[in-house]
């Protein structure tokens, strides 16, 4: 009975604290989200460049992704962070701003194929960079 109670307390504590590493876990999760957004926006940019999308869809879904990237950056900025992670988090916040900006530029001029091509390359590169940062945490 005592063992069961101890197990229950341990499980509750683990759930409540996210296994004792909540901040790092959240930071990593946010940066993974940024990588995911960038990779998705790269696919959208590729379809945009090749005229394989609908402008309304691109603008609306692009806005969702751009806002999400900004939101993740805000979360990173507000979170109490392990000092050892400071530089990496700053880098991720910078990437997030770049990603959001690239998506917004394409939303403004969806018929600019050259811009979309450049954005696709950049977004793929930023996705990779964000993944590396997340992987290092």
């Amino acid at each position: 009975m005592k063992r069961a109670a101890a197990l229950l307390v341990a499980l509750t504590a683990a759930l409540a604290t996210g296994c004792g590493n909540e901040t790092n876990h959240d930071v990593r999760q946010s940066i993974e989200q940024i990588a995911s957004i960038s990779a998705e926006a790269a696919i959208m940019a590729d379809d945009l460049e090749r005229g394989r999308t609908k402008t309304t869809y691109f603008r609306v879904h692009g806005e969702e992704l751009s806002s999400q990237a900004e939101h993740e950056a805000e979360k990173l900025s507000d979170a109490p962070i392990d000092p050892a992670l400071h530089d990496r988090v700053e880098k991720a916040i910078g990437l997030s701003a770049e990603i959001s900006g690239a998506i917004d530029d394409m939303r403004v001029s969806p018929n600019d194929a050259q811009q979309a091509r450049q954005a696709e390359q950049d977004l793929n590169k930023w996705a990779e960079e964000a993944r590396k940062i997340a992987g290092s945490i």
């Binding site: 876990h25 995911s36 998705e40 696919i43 309304t56 869809y57 603008r59 609306v60 879904h61």
Partner: protein
């Protein structure tokens, strides 16, 4: 699955086309807003490894939907009636409250989903699309007869078949796909969460509340047992195929890029990537009617349970003045759903909660169905055969396991995000 008489063996060709009820119930249940995103997440995270869970869910809903349709056709009783009769008033009250709460959550999510799809199509503000989408749904439900509603949402929702074409077009590794149909254990809570979610989503109670009451709306009798069987096999089979296709497309487009889908727009990206703008438009059209169908299903399901519990006149086949409280109920459900979505809550998150909490209520829904479908007093010669009985009890055990595991897994995985 039941012991059918000779009358249910012969199906005329006309009835082959009368499977809209099964299609709308299945398309609404399997590919509503939550499942569109949930299946895409399952494919992106685990590639083909959760395809088996879709099959487990599809067979389960086929088994129980066939029973509820048979009970409706033979005993003339919809599921909630059965629940009250077999489990008593106290359990029925618990069932009613749970069902109404889950239906409202689901309806709010689906109405929000309709607004999102309209926004993706027309790039107009979400609030405007929410109002227009809601008005469109209410007008269709008010003015179009039940059979027409089934056909509009069931058949137009089939535009989602673009995912089936895309899944093949993207040239998957068929060996990996085949392996995905073999149940496997991945050893992580996240995998278990998605497996439970995929199985549970196929079995959500509002599908059978809607399906059995819909059978009565369609005037089913013992002569329609073959039609019921065909509805469950073809309709729910189609829902399963769509789920599988969405998982496959996601595994091929989103998985390799390590994209974590959280939006309906991300699910649509898979169809666009395969077929360009045409694929995108078909996906969005299919989503609009699948999610719209799920909204109608949830609104009716709520009104059916309430009316059947209270003993009111119910049914879309009656005019609004012939079943005024039933009509008022589904109108109020739509209005409440509008209020919930207008608060700004994310419809996708809402429906994921609705699915997980529905899973907890599954045993309460399916046990009385199983008991009455094998009760000769009610079913005469149409009680469960051995095959239906064995499958029914086997699935009841699966349902119990899924129901017990759902909430702990949701907490441990932080709703699939950990």
């Amino acid at each position: 699955m039941g012991r059918g008489g000779p009358q249910d063996r012969g199906l005329d060709l006309k009835k082959v086309f009368q499977i809209a009820l099964g299609i709308v119930a299945a398309v609404g249940g399997f590919v509503d807003i939550g499942e569109l995103v949930f299946n895409a997440q399952a494919g992106a995270l685990f590639h083909y490894k959760l395809l088996w869970a879709v099959i487990v869910g599809v067979i389960g809903i086929m088994v129980f939907a066939e029973m509820t349709g048979r009970v409706a056709a033979v005993a003339g009783r919809p599921v909630f009636d059965v629940l009250r009769m077999r489990m008593g008033i106290n359990v029925a009250i618990v069932g009613l409250i749970a069902s109404l709460a889950i239906n409202l959550l689901t309806l709010a999510a689906e109405v929000g989903g309709v607004a999102i799809v309209l926004q993706l199509l027309f790039d107009v503000k979400f609030g405007t699309m929410l109002l227009l989408g809601l008005m469109g749904l209410v007008l269709i439900v008010y003015f179009v007869p039940f059979e027409g509603i089934e056909r509009i949402f069931g058949y137009l929702g089939c535009a989602l078949l673009v995912y089936v074409a895309a899944a093949v077009h993207l040239k998957p590794d068929w060996h990996d796909v085949a392996q995905g149909f073999v149940p496997s254990w991945h050893g992580s809570a996240l995998y278990a969460y998605f497996a439970v979610g995929v199985i549970g989503a196929a079995l959500v109670p509002y599908e059978v509340y809607f399906y059995s009451s819909g059978g009565i709306e369609d005037g089913w009798t013992e002569k329609d047992l073959g039609l019921n069987r065909m509805n469950t096999i073809l309709g729910f089979g189609l829902g399963g195929i769509l789920s599988i296709a969405i998982i496959m497309v996601s595994a091929q487009v989103l998985g390799p890029a390590q994209i974590d889908p959280s939006y309906l727009g991300t699910t649509a990206l898979g169809a666009q990537h395969a077929y360009g703008e045409t694929g995108l438009l078909l996906a969005l059209l299919g989503m609009l009617f699948a999610v719209g169908g799920a909204a109608v299903e949830a609104a009716f399901s709520g009104a059916y349970t309430l009316a059947q519990f209270a003993g009111w006149e119910w049914g879309k086949y009656r005019s609004p003045s012939g079943a005024p409280r039933f009509t008022l109920s589904w109108l109020i459900f739509f209005a409440l759903a509008f209020v919930v979505v207008a608060t700004g809550v994310d419809p996708v998150i809402l429906t994921e909660y609705a699915v997980i909490f529905s899973v907890v209520a599954l045993p309460l829904t399916y046990l009385p169905v199983l008991l009455i479908a094998r009760d000769r007093t009610f079913m005469g010669n149409h009680t469960n055969g051995l095959f239906a009985d064995v499958l029914g009890w086997l699935y009841f055990v699966i349902i119990l396991i899924v129901a017990l595991a759902a909430v702990p897994l949701m907490l441990i995985t932080q709703q699939g995000s950990a």
